[in-house]
Symmetry: C2
Subunit: 268 residues, 2 copies
């Protein structure tokens, strides 16, 4: 399966897998973001992902193009974090290639990345001079000569997706290994998501609800893993509190992409 | 939205809409064909649909390529009939263009079309010399100088998808008009499907179960339309008898493609 198609398949397989506690899945929509929005983004990103596969286009430009192509529906930024991981993975083919590429990103990549934020409502720290909604942010980036990798270094302590760039895609790798350990298809995706949820605090949840809530999600996931509560109960608890572990979902997409490239079977 | 993406969106929107009595939808799988298989085909067909959009490739070759690209999973031929309609629609852009194109198909298109059957288990009439599993069929096609359009003329009396070619995409047009009448998004798709089901006997159902069963499906759909039974009850009745109105689903995909090109809103 060619890398671009593999990335689209990963986006599709992640969102259709169920039950995936707290997130949109085959059986759950959010009030304003539906299954169709996620699947539309997977389709709409196709041409950009094929451009990424062909090579010769900068990461920042590809990122901006992916956001522009998918930001056309009312469902919001379904795959912002996923593209941060998928685009270097598609250009670089695998984790090794992606880890080298992200370290070679430029100031222009950072500027393109920031410009794509104008289309979105992604949240970062409001007091940060590099906040994506600070109109002076790109000016500061140029003044300080920050590459997109530098931006991710800056974000890594509070953002687990950015941390994948600085940490050689550690959780992406872990997720891919878990997928293979858990067999094939839908069930392996759900089992991997639960295991990640039980072992990693989701930084998107921390930003929205605070660290305590994120740790509470982890211990609930541990209870579900131990069979003390059902996945459905875990899902209800998260949904009722408006908690969606979106960064883990982004990383899971990258893990599925990697696993598919290593022979993991989605079709079961 | 460019034609290739529009075709993929149509495939995605059709299969995720629910409740769609008798067919795979967001909430129902068949035992061996799952939602993921349909969505995988929508993604896997992307490169071929983009080739179709660029132009200069024959309909038969595109068709064979689409089948080869999507026939890689265990879910079977999820979109065989849909491709018969979508490929001329994407190359020709709209119904007018497609209707002209199909009449200009060649003997080579017919041969390519037949060769794609070798990958599949699509059913036709076993006593027909042009049966797709007759090893002499392509020989007969060449001897008689039959174009792909001639093949569809031959199949039209018993196959409503083939009839779209000979009938200027009459039901595709009707479905697109119904989608617009029924508003936007998921609800309009379900309402259109029900209205088509209530007014057109599905030839796939006729081939599999006989004409009487197909007429029974129509009258059940009329009862659902009149509110005498719920959509869920209709769905249960069809699923319990193994009845899936697959040809109407193929035509609905073509209708969504056309409606999207005419400004119909999928996002609601």
């Amino acid at each position: 399966m060619e890398p671009a198609i593999r990335a689209q398949m990963a986006m599709m397989l992640e969102v259709t897998a169920y039950p995936k506690p707290g997130n949109v899945d085959r059986c759950h929509d959010y009030p304003s973001t539906h299954l169709e929005h996620f699947l539309a983004s997977a389709i709409l990103a196709g041409p950009t992902l094929h451009r990424a596969q062909e090579g010769g286009v900068a990461i920042g430009e590809l990122f901006r193009e992916a956001i522009a192509a998918t930001n056309v529906h009312s469902g919001g930024n379904t795959h912002f974090g996923a593209f941060i991981l998928l685009i270097p993975l598609v250009v670089g083919r695998d984790i090794g290639g992606a880890a080298r590429l992200v370290r070679a990103t430029t100031v222009q990549d950072a500027v393109d990345f920031y410009e794509s934020f104008d289309l979105t409502s992604v949240r970062m720290h409001k007091t940060d001079p590099l906040d994506v909604h600070n109109p002076r942010a790109t000016e500061i980036i140029r003044e300080r000569g920050l590459s997109l990798f530098d931006i991710m270094v800056h974000s890594a302590p509070t953002d687990m997706v950015a941390r994948e760039w600085t940490d050689s895609f550690r959780l992406t790798r872990k997720g891919a290994d878990l997928l293979k350990q858990h067999g094939s298809g839908r069930k392996a995706i759900v089992a991997t998501f639960l295991e990640m949820l039980a072992s990693e605090p989701d930084t998107f949840v921390i930003k929205k609800h605070g660290r305590e809530v994120a740790l509470e999600v982890m211990s609930l996931a541990q209870e579900a893993k131990a069979g003390k509560i059902t996945l459905e109960m875990l899902d209800q608890r998260l949904v009722s509190k408006g908690i969606n572990p979106g960064s883990l979902a982004d990383i899971l997409i990258a893990s599925i992409y990697v696993a598919l490239g290593e022979g993991w079977e989605w079709d079961s």
